[in-house]
Symmetry: C2
Subunit: 199 residues, 2 copies
């Protein structure tokens, strides 16, 4: 197959693991192969300061972004101002219809809503933002207590770490399940939360 390009969007205040988890999954799935490229994209080429202060240099700006097959929008504190950023919303609104897969992690689904991409779709978000998303996005059905929701080519994940599960699932759908399992094995993703789940 020709090269499949995953574009991970960065913006000021994007939550680090929202995008770094999927980055690890897709770049690990790309190891030793030439059919998958993974790039970060931000509005400009300047360093991006994430939600917890990590500073990252994006691979591309909106202007020199390659054609994407999958776009991933993270969430985080910064999604509040990004939801009012017309330049970002216009870019996303133009890029998403050209992608095979349109995806988000955490409150990234609020940005998909702001860009007009969730009408009639089943979607999800971080558990703490389910009421907010329900109020904002009455054109969509907001599910809760799920790791990720796939509706057509739109896949939205729950909070932060759920992007890892979603991305592994996507590797299985884009390529094959065996490749997703291999990726999981090299990430040693056999999670054992140490103190059990909070009740």
């Amino acid at each position: 197959m020709s090269e499949f390009t995953v574009g991970i969007v960065l913006f000021e205040g994007a939550e680090e693991l929202d995008w770094a988890g999927p980055w690890e999954v897709f770049t690990m799935a790309a190891m030793g192969r030439d059919d998958l490229a993974v790039v970060t994209i931000a509005q400009t080429a300047e360093p991006v300061r994430c939600a917890k202060g990590l500073r990252v240099l994006p691979d591309h700006s909106f202007e020199d972004c390659p054609k994407l097959d999958l776009v991933l929008v993270p969430g985080g504190q910064g999604s509040r101002s990004e939801a009012k950023n017309e330049i970002f919303l216009q870019w996303l609104g133009e890029v998403a219809p050209q992608c095979q897969w349109v995806t988000s992690v955490c409150t990234g689904s609020l940005l998909l809503h702001a860009a007009g991409l969730v009408a009639g779709k089943r979607i999800t978000t971080h558990w703490a933002y389910v009421p907010t998303l329900r109020e904002l996005a009455d054109e969509a059905e907001v599910l809760e207590k799920v790791r990720y929701v796939c509706d057509g080519n739109l896949v939205t994940a729950a909070g932060v770490s759920a992007g890892i599960d979603m991305s592994l699932w996507l590797v299985g759908q884009i390529f094959c399940v065996e490749r997703a399992r291999e990726t999981q094995r090299f990430m040693e993703y056999d999670p054992e939360p140490p103190y059990g789940a909070e009740v």
Copy 2:
């Protein structure tokens, strides 16, 4: 309590999730509190290019690094050359004895070995590097099929994603279990690998 400072070491070729997982855990545990600081540290202030190509600007160089209470050393392809980097090994050898906790993720334990920090200790690493570490670090006991190993104040995690579990466990030890569970809840860390474990 006075401020507890976590220092996450970055170097060329460090595996992204090895350090980004712990970064998310510790910075999430620090949210809305003033008793925990998390910083990234590299040899110089220049951008660091990680194993899969992500470029990060470190918060501190070795020269202006604050006093650390916990040092975390990631692994990745870059650990091979870092194990021969005398400047790094000398810095780590000086900093580690002043820390309450000395930790690694993935092949970061090979760097703890190279800095002379694992003699007589039980340690672990990424499953694929267990034989290598056993051969190199015959002064230590290398365990396998564990997410992380704590021996005194030395805590070493298995590959890549295991750093998340280790860091949550450390939050519970440094502060309290309830705070670790709260951190886990805000990260929505109820992992569900999508295709089951590889057999």
